[in-house]
């Protein structure tokens, strides 16, 4: 199937630096995925747990045997917060990227292929959304959505979706507009394919190729935006799930008092996850974007001319 081809192609087509970028990004990402998936087993405590067997955790306790990344001023275990935070971050990112692709790509496809007034209206709306500073948009929407969905993962994910839909829409629409003129699309019309078949079977596969790249890069961006929302006290509420941005904000007052572990570790988690996603995105970009792609060449050396090989010319005949 075409999908399988697409999935393995990044590895077949990259080499050297591009492959290392992709690989190291994937490794980082994998680490966080493991943390997120196995959080209940990896994290020693719950994300909102402040005591065990009746005994309170220390407040702002430095790293120790019990709490090897220390505890926060809210009595939480830092390591557990990071592990559960990874789960929150990935949940939000996956949902928001999924939703924005689900909305943006088909809208872009339809808009680009059908054109006309529908196209104009959609482009106008999407451009308006795109023109807004993304953080501002996220703040506005998380205000609105907290009423609707509560302060959990869903609200944050939907707020982020609004930011990223226009990007998929624009990319898919523009590729569709140029692919619409391709001979194979005309050929599809010539065999009598209805519009929806042309879009689904002929255009879709050929215009979504850049979506994985935007997806991973957006995911990296979304981690940052989510943390920013949490830092501002918006988005995910502390009781709902662990969130690194919120932790960072809570760590601020202690920073001047030498309590570094409450800030450094969540910060590091954000940086590493964003880096991982960006690396994957860049690595994918090298394979998807033909202007960046370098063909993988098998090195060779010219074999010496053997007896069986060529002895053309050399004065035997009139050239």
């Amino acid at each position: 199937m075409g999908i399988a081809r697409t999935l393995i192609s990044p590895f077949r087509q990259t080499s050297g630096l591009a492959r290392w970028i992709l690989l190291s990004g994937l490794l980082l990402l994998l680490a966080f995925v493991i943390l997120a998936v196995f959080a209940p087993w990896i994290a020693p405590y719950g994300f909102a747990q402040v005591r065990e067997s009746g005994e309170m955790f220390p407040r702002n306790g430095p790293p120790s045997g019990e709490h090897f990344l220390g505890t926060t001023e809210g009595f939480y275990d830092v390591w557990s917060r990071i592990v559960w935070g990874a789960r929150t971050a990935l949940q939000v990112v996956i949902i928001s990227v999924f939703l924005s692709v689900l909305l943006g790509a088909p809208l872009g496809l339809v808009s680009g292929y059908l054109g006309g007034w529908l196209d104009r209206i959609l482009v106008l709306i999407m451009d308006a959304l795109y023109a807004f500073p993304s953080l501002l948009l996220a703040i506005v929407f998380s205000f609105l959505l907290t009423d609707l969905f509560g302060g959990g993962v869903t609200a944050a994910a939907v707020a982020l979706t609004v930011i990223y839909v226009p990007q998929y829409f624009r990319v898919v629409r523009n590729t569709t507009v140029s692919a619409r003129e391709a001979t194979y699309v005309e050929a599809a019309r010539a065999i009598g394919a209805p519009k929806r078949t042309i879009m689904a079977k002929y255009l879709f596969n050929n215009v979504v190729q850049s979506v994985p790249v935007i997806g991973t890069l957006n995911a990296a961006d979304a981690i940052g935006t989510l943390a920013a929302l949490g830092f501002l006290g918006l988005g995910i509420q502390p009781g709902e799930a662990a969130e690194w941005g919120y932790d960072l904000q809570r760590a601020l007052p202690g920073a001047s008092a030498g309590i570094w572990w409450t800030g450094v570790f969540p910060g590091l988690a954000i940086v590493l996850l964003v880096t991982g996603l960006t690396l994957v995105g860049e690595g994918l970009n090298e394979t998807v974007n033909p202007t960046l792609r370098k063909r993988k060449l098998r090195p060779f050396t010219l074999p010496p001319r053997g007896a069986a090989a060529v002895q053309a010319g050399k004065g035997q005949v009139d050239l």
Binding site: L297, R298, R305, V310, Q311, A312, K314, V317, D318, L319
Partner: protein, 345 residues
């Protein structure tokens, strides 16, 4: 017609291989020929025969990862040993190239005059604008472009005019050797004929030796003094156009001529099978799996260049040399693999 003075260009055993993800492509694999002053040599072959790589290889315009050996003697100097910087001084005043798609080579934001100024200034720094204009208008006149268009932009020209411009730009410094790679393929029949006439007259107008790469045998027959037929990285036959078209010796040349559809075509003929994969070409003679006259030796030993007439050379065991063949060699090839319909191109 062939002038027996020192050739302008003398190629000896040139190989150009380039890497792909499947291994090395033997695009040019041991090519030798001479080109004399003011001579037009047609290089014909099907796509994938290596003719374009050969043309670019002669000017050392090679794809990344390409490796070459052999000699390209130009005015007594071997271009193969020149550095990139030295080569730049050759391109323009000595070597020129004309491409298939003129628009990709013209800067849409530059006037024609600016193109000429740039081309001239790189090699002759002291030349002033008036002198550039004088030289440019002279070349343009030969190309049939009116002087009123000297200040125009490339998009204001039609396809044929753009190709004339490209030729004019390649010739303004009067190089002694020019490679034209499918210069008329993108053009219509009538315009093609105009351009071919211009190329044919280069000898008269500029004393230029031309390597004309094309897949159109008719153009070669009409416009070239000599013709080289390329198959799978080798020149399998070379000779004067008169000789080769009237009396083709190589079975591939014969088949190619026969399969070409012209106004006098009354029946369809074709070459069985498809051109070989140059990553892994057939052993010995590359044409033997498709050759109707293949002999035992053809699958076994590389054919030698054999002279079959004045200036007419062919690489095919049918024409000898007999002293290198034994009795059993000339029997029809037994174990020739069947060419399935699916392998047809």
């Amino acid at each position: 017609m062939t002038d027996h003075s020192e050739p302008v260009l003398s190629v000896r055993d040139l190989r150009v291989w380039y890497g792909t993800d499947r291994g090395a492509v033997r695009a040019v694999d041991g090519v030798s020929f001479d080109l004399h002053k003011g001579e037009t040599l047609g290089l014909v072959g099907e796509s994938g025969s290596g003719k374009s790589t050969l043309g670019r290889g002669l000017l050392r315009l090679l794809p990344e990862g390409a490796q070459t050996d052999g000699e390209i003697l130009f005015g007594g100097e071997d271009l193969q040993t020149k550095s990139a910087k030295e080569l730049r001084t050759y391109r323009g005043p000595e070597l020129g190239m004309i491409f298939q798609e003129p628009m990709t080579r013209l800067n849409p934001l530059m006037r024609i005059s600016e193109h000429f100024e740039e081309a001239v200034k790189v090699h002759a720094a002291g030349v002033d604008r008036q002198e550039v204009k004088r030289r440019a208008l002279e070349v343009l006149r030969v190309m049939g472009i009116p002087p009123t268009r000297y200040r125009s932009y490339p998009h204001e020209f039609s396809g044929g005019m753009r190709q004339r411009l490209m030729i004019a730009l390649a010739l303004v410094l009067r190089p002694s050797f020019v490679v034209a790679d499918e210069p008329t393929t993108a053009l219509d029949v009538l315009v093609e004929a105009q351009i071919i006439a211009i190329l044919h007259d280069l000898r008269r107008d500029f004393d230029t030796s031309l390597l004309l790469i094309t897949h159109n045998l008719g153009i070669v027959a009409e416009a070239c003094d000599r013709v080289a037929v390329m198959y799978a990285g080798r020149i399998v036959e070379i000779g004067s156009s008169d000789e080769v078209f009237r009396n083709p010796k190589h079975p591939y040349t014969q088949a190619l001529l026969k399969s070409t559809i012209s106004l006098s075509t009354t029946g369809l003929h074709f070459i069985p099978g498809a051109p070989p994969d140059l990553v892994d070409p057939p052993s010995a003679c590359r044409f033997h799996p498709r050759c109707p006259h293949a002999m035992e030796i053809c699958a076994d030993k590389f054919p030698q260049p054999v002279s079959v007439g004045p200036g007419h050379r062919v690489e095919c065991w049918l024409h000898g040399p007999e002293d290198q063949m034994t009795e059993g060699d000339t029997g029809p090839l037994e174990k020739k693999e069947e060419i399935g319909v699916a392998d047809e191109a």
